[in-house]
Symmetry: C2
Subunit: 247 residues, 2 copies
DNA sequence: TATTTCATGGTTGTCTCCAATATATTCTGA
DNA sequence: TCAGAATATATTGGAGACAACCATGAAATA
């Protein structure tokens, strides 16, 4: 009865399946290190094996699942090391986006960002975490758009996807929120001053700080293993009584 | 029944098929904008549709082919804009690899790089383009390894894959070769001095210069369309709306 | 000439086989 | 009792047939 999200887009099925699985992984419905068996997913999503397998291949090349030889797929483990390393790469991408945006954005675009920034400041002062988070995402995404480099955008999006999981589990502290807001003030100022080099450094530092805070939050919440050790046992195979399998 | 490449690796077939197609795209056997029909490829590679389709999905998410709605796959066009944008991203990744390697590589590794560098210098003085190219690749790859960030390495490799095509078609000028060698001298010096910031800047500049020379070579050889214009049979499909936020 | 209709080839999705492999279970011998 | 071998079972990998759908271009019509 559960069609794949009831989305009769003209997009192909394997694409929609990949989308659904991406979300399930991001929001923890498919937990890290969980084994994905084709038959179960097929029944759950109500699709046949072919598009499902194609979707899994896509997700594998995106780094969201790992393909095991003759053992199917497993949701990629979210290790501390991996998170930190992804942030490390992300920081230079973010820096580049700032520098390029500085050089390429027109005045109207900068003014638009200022507006978003002010709105975000209002959320901050009102203690509206939800709204702040949303606008924060929008601002960073807008910078990547203004950078005018689709390759940069795509690269960032793909890496960011893997961090969405971590960000979803992490709840940043109040003190980090304070300093993040302050950093955004400086970021806006650098952009308006068209100081590309400075904006780049600010953004890199901003992401590094965000990395630290996310990792701290993950560690304290216990949502992540401190070290990427694979001491995690695979989920015990659920006892399945094959009804009436005559032989 | 002949296997595709008589390579009975323990890797799955879709993986090997993706590898083969990657190479064919890199070396122009499958030209940019060429339509890929499943039936033809199946016969050519002597595989069935299942692994082929899975491989195509993988290549699509790597940006080497584009999937068209109900019209199969097409080798991604190699436009000037795309090449320049990819180099733009690559330069900051390369810079990051240098900075990290500076901080994390031990003395033995640096000495090893010095050896490679000297060997490359010998090739340069001997006019051995082939050997130079090979060692140059090795040195840059080694830097990424020493950076100790697998995410960075994977991201770089994926982007670099798309440029291998351009590099293959481009033949750099002698003057560019001269300055590239000089830049490598500085790069080695900065690494040995453990000057991470400087190494980062040098590498970024190095890649920017390489970009300019590759593009110049491509333009003069006529192997690439000057502008990403689609005077080609198919309509340009990738156009992201600027302001509209959704997703 | 412009528009509509229609035939065709290719892709997409589903299904059914079968082989190869990994995992679980039972059996055997010390 | 327990380790290791042998067997059984489940799952993935791959091949191929089939139907449905879509894009495209040619033919027919106004």
């Amino acid at each position: 009865m559960t069609k794949p999200e009831e989305a009769p887009d003209n997009t192909s099925l394997h694409f929609r399946v990949a989308d659904i699985l991406r979300d399930k992984i991001t929001y923890g419905e498919l937990a890290p290190r969980m084994r994905l068996t084709e038959r179960v997913l097929c029944e759950e999503l109500n699709v046949s094996r072919t598009p499902l397998r194609e979707a899994l291949k896509t997700l594998a090349s995106e780094g969201l699942v790992e393909l095991l030889q003759n053992r199917g797929a497993m949701v990629t483990a979210m290790t501390l090391a991996d998170t930190a390393q992804t942030f490390e790469v992300l920081s230079v991408l973010e820096g580049l986006s700032g520098e390029l945006a500085c050089a390429r954005a027109d005045e109207a675009a900068v003014a638009g960002l200022r507006q978003l920034h002010e709105a975000m400041g209002a959320c901050y002062r009102a203690g509206d975490r939800e709204g702040y988070f949303e606008l924060n995402q929008t601002i960073h995404a807008r910078l990547f758009l203004l950078a005018g480099n689709p390759v940069l955008l795509a690269t960032h999006d793909k890496l960011n996807l893997r961090l969405r999981r971590a960000r979803y589990f992490a709840n940043v502290s109040q003190s980090r929120w304070d300093s993040a807001m302050a950093e955004h003030e400086q970021i806006m100022a650098a952009l308006e001053a068209r100081n590309g080099k400075r904006l780049r450094l600010l953004l890199e530092e901003h992401i590094r700080n965000k990395c630290d805070s996310v990792i701290a939050a993950l560690l304290s919440s216990g949502a992540i293993r401190a070290i990427g050790s694979s001491a995690a046992p695979l989920p015990a195979p659920k006892r399945r009584e094959a009804a009436g399998r005559s032989r």
